[in-house]
Symmetry: C2
Subunit: 365 residues, 2 copies
Amino acid sequence: MPGSTTPLDLTADVVTLTRQLVDIESVSRHEQEIADAVEAALQALPHLSVTRRGHTIVARTDLGRRSRVVIAGHLDTVPVNDNLPSRYDEATGILHGLGTCDMKGGDAVILRLAATLTEPVHDITYVLYEAEEIEAVHNGLRLLGESDPDLLVADFAILMEPSNAGVEAGCQGTLRVEVRTRGERAHSARSWRGVNAIHGAAEVLDRLAAYDARRPVIDGLEYHEGLNAVGIRGGVAGNVIPDECVVTVNHRFAPDRSEAEALAFVEEFFAGFEVTLTDSAPGALPGLDRPAAKAFVEAVGGQVAPKFGWTDVARFTVLGVPAVNYGPGDPLLAHKQDEHVEVAQIIRCEQQLRTWLTTPQEEQA
Amino acid sequence: MPGSTTPLDLTADVVTLTRQLVDIESVSRHEQEIADAVEAALQALPHLSVTRRGHTIVARTDLGRRSRVVIAGHLDTVPVNDNLPSRYDEATGILHGLGTCDMKGGDAVILRLAATLTEPVHDITYVLYEAEEIEAVHNGLRLLGESDPDLLVADFAILMEPSNAGVEAGCQGTLRVEVRTRGERAHSARSWRGVNAIHGAAEVLDRLAAYDARRPVIDGLEYHEGLNAVGIRGGVAGNVIPDECVVTVNHRFAPDRSEAEALAFVEEFFAGFEVTLTDSAPGALPGLDRPAAKAFVEAVGGQVAPKFGWTDVARFTVLGVPAVNYGPGDPLLAHKQDEHVEVAQIIRCEQQLRTWLTTPQEEQA
């Protein structure tokens, strides 16, 4: 079962299709090839109408059903880390490689449903989008919500981020700041005449290393915050005392805090340092009290966990559309060098969604 | 007196010539233009024989004198920092701009002496060389010592590094290491599953910030060591816990320690961390007991101070040639954004050297 690249074969089984998607390298900002392949495959399906915006593809049924659901996934991955192409271990049933978990298994489920569900009980809007793994300004779903909000109108949304094929509700918010220290350049042979900005960052890293995460319980779900340096840079030349050091910090905050509250926390945490906000996205409260969320949760098994990772469910929340995370793959493996997925989870997600989307609505009650 | 670039006018006064040199941008590894200009100007002088190696120019008299001196300076500068072109303040007699202090004032003295001393009392080897401000592997004087050691044979050497037009003896050694911390990548939304290598560098910066410099007294001169981060880098992506952080550290060590002893100190200082040596150059003991050093010191005034900065006097020491630092400019201003020089110092250096090099040797006793 060697991986092939374009064109995609939507008649293949969902695992084969996952491999095809994984083997098309699609690091954020380099989604042209995979988006072209997805668009071509969906355009070939007469029961769908397809729209493209940038490298984001939308395919919709238009059957006049009483309700519409969105099923969405992102096409990009974090940078390659010596983990492509995919490798399938038949003995364990595990598919290895970048994007297997986050989230091309989910994308394959979406494409299989799109190809085969010509008469679903709800109208369906399939969304496969670009640039989820980087700064929010590039996010394809965000851009789509701004340029074509009508395309995202729905009664319920499912985001197929990895959740071990279980339902994960809500999501934590995320923001990034640059924490900057300043000094004064001097020749490093007479360092006492300058002020070393990198040494000045010691206290920034000390505070980060000593950070104690808040773990609030919301709707019975325990969230888990985080505050981490994700980048550091400084230095002018090998013999110059550096006059600037910049620590890029990512804060993940539970959905009981707004973006403004989270930023205030970070500013207080780094009191005495220069803090500049570069990127921010809100969390989403679990919203398990909404009927649409309840119905889906019951249909696929009933268990719900909190979502730690920020996901685009927050974008649906902002649009007033109830949304949950539900997809194959262990979220703990996302972004790790040895990222992998149990193919059984991909198959189960496809089956459960297919059952829910083909079972007449009266039987779902 | 607007600065002009090539060709250089060696008949101009030494201050005008300094400006001409400053206004030819010559950051390390970009010395082609200035070396071309220097070579052309020296080739025009019939009493000198000129040799070029890379962007290093050597010009020699060959008068059969009993003794030979080397007078040397580097042509490169640290990176531009919004401090070009030069600016002359007539009210204060100060010339501002990158390289005014380190060390185009000294280079101008060398070129003026080369142009005008047709009958010096010692044979003279003038050396204007590339790449002093960066890793030793590129250093033009080092390369010349390896490719053409005969060109550096001499009884005494003067290196025109900034020393406030006084004599600075010996020099401190310098070495660079990379101190590396390692961690484990994970998605930053579930940071507790990874290990943050940047947070792991907090202890490295803490030790640096707490460093207490050694100040040994050698031959009556007090040296002053240094240990500084000159660069830091780490980070994979804005949502990934980084698995590596690298701090580049520059250690300046007094000349009573060998390179090996200095490295052992650094390794012990960072015990528990991964330390990799990237660059090293030895210090030079003051050597004030040598007759050639004594004679020159007496001729130019008698005062001697220790040299903190590493300079290529160490390369002459290795070749068995006594050498001192003597040049215009305050070394505390080298590599600073507001680098400048009192033009009176440039003029004094030219005059003192001219007197020494034209006074018959019996009168020097």
